[in-house]
Symmetry: C2
Subunit: 284 residues, 2 copies
């Protein structure tokens, strides 16, 4: 997906959110917001939004010397989601359609996105789960997803955010784990998961976990490590979580199922749905 003009004010707002997370120094806030605008002036709109976000967040790290501004937030949402895990697991196990229930949790978990909402609180996650569980998944899409998983021999599951990864684990537990490899980002970017998060929530005990070698909040294939690119090529099914993975992979010619919550107007328009919709959708 290309970058829309509407994404530009959103990038600037996101840069400011990050700046405030790192320091109370308003001079640094100003430096970051001005630098982000200068960068936006020269940006190539044919690239996807995560491409620009990656550049802005690299710049913020350079300007502040802080490598992982979202470290504490990530830890806190991982811990919060882990607390919810036993109840959610029980709910899924007691459901008539366990995969459907697990998909609902995986979509609800995608609310934990500090790129979209830097003021997110635990109760927003609880509300998203309650709402998600009440909303049916489109039966045909769900069946196609189940069929695709059954047919596939080699599945690459692209994770998204901290906290959310616990809900991904709940879904993966309902799938044939022997076929699945889970992927995290190569370096910290916003509240996206890295290997540390996968280890913290014991995803590493469930399936092999690789990192993609890059620091974009999405999957920009040409920037990923060769090892990741090979894994991507070898997989006969990709499960891609979240907006960033959708934005970077929606035009890639590959067997992909996207699982996400449509959290902004632009994504919703691109998907042809309302903001807040639960999406389980294959490529093309």
């Amino acid at each position: 997906m290309k970058t829309y003009f509407d994404c530009i004010p959103c990038f600037i707002r996101q840069a400011l959110d990050s700046a405030r997370l790192i320091t109370d120094d308003e001079n640094i806030h100003e430096e970051i917001i001005i630098s982000a605008m200068k960068m936006a002036v020269d940006m190539d709109l044919r690239k996807s939004p995560p491409e620009m976000a990656k550049k802005i967040h690299r710049l913020i790290r350079q300007l502040t010397g802080i490598d992982d501004p979202y470290k504490e937030i990530k830890a806190s949402f991982n811990a919060f989601a882990m607390q919810m895990y036993p109840k959610a697991k029980k709910y899924i196990e007691e459901s008539v359609d366990k995969i459907e229930a697990a998909v609902k949790f995986a979509i609800a978990g995608n609310i934990i996105d500090f790129g979209v909402n830097a003021g997110l609180k635990n109760h927003h996650v609880r509300d998203a789960i309650d709402k998600s569980l009440e909303t049916p998944i489109e039966p045909k899409a769900l069946q196609r997803f189940k069929d695709a998983v059954a047919r596939a021999e080699n599945i690459l599951y692209l994770g998204d955010n901290a906290g959310e990864i616990v809900f991904d684990k709940l879904l993966i537990e309902q799938l044939p784990t022997e076929k699945i490899t889970f992927a995290v980002r190569g370096k910290p970017i916003i509240n996206d998961i890295t290997m540390e998060d996968a280890e913290f929530v014991s995803m590493t005990d469930l399936v092999p976990v690789i990192d993609n070698g890059d620091d974009a909040p999405g999957t920009i294939l040409e920037d990923c490590s060769q090892q990741f690119q090979e894994k991507f090529t070898d997989a006969d099914l990709i499960i891609a979580k979240g907006q960033g993975n959708y934005e970077t992979l929606s035009e890639v010619d590959k067997n992909i199922f996207f699982i996400l919550k449509a959290k902004c107007e632009i994504i919703a328009q691109h998907l042809g749905c309302e903001v807040g919709s639960m999406i389980l959708k294959e490529n093309f």
Copy 2:
């Protein structure tokens, strides 16, 4: 009020909204958004938000050659509010406290602000009125407002937006009109009122109407005409409608009552209230 960093992404979004109103040509959208960012990079944050908005909208007019992109929207909201006038007038006349009822309509009318929400529809105005009528005005503030009006000899009422002006008329009709002069902006800016709107809704038949000689979406005194500045100095009470007038006059040493709906997080923080609050508040 100074400009906050949070206002910057909002300026960029506002420039894009205007661009889209003027043309479907994406090249012009890009030119406008890029130019707005270049301008924002160099802006002086000690100035108020309307100062920056004025510059951005001047630039948009230059780039497109269109003097009044909001002309149709203004006409449509004037007509819509005029349709509501008879019912609203009856409601006020039948109220125990007519001034309180009229203040509520005047605050509700401030929802018609295309700087804040370019997607505003008629039903939003109806909803705002319903909500406003249900919400009490702080009794002490209302009493101080009535006392200030009774004491004053020379009142200058600073209008704000098209459509909203009809609700200002309803309030002015409950006040001693012989003391009141109504002021409009000097030139088109966003959906703010000019003399044309005052004539269309017959404000000119009710009280003398002057224009302030400037094209800011607020009242930047030093940029206003000498005639307006003298009128401002001579007045012993200013009634200032809307966010733009609050942003530009909140630190002016003058007897001012602000009447507005707090429509963004920054204004709400500055006023110490929640977003959406109805504000009737004197200076200092």
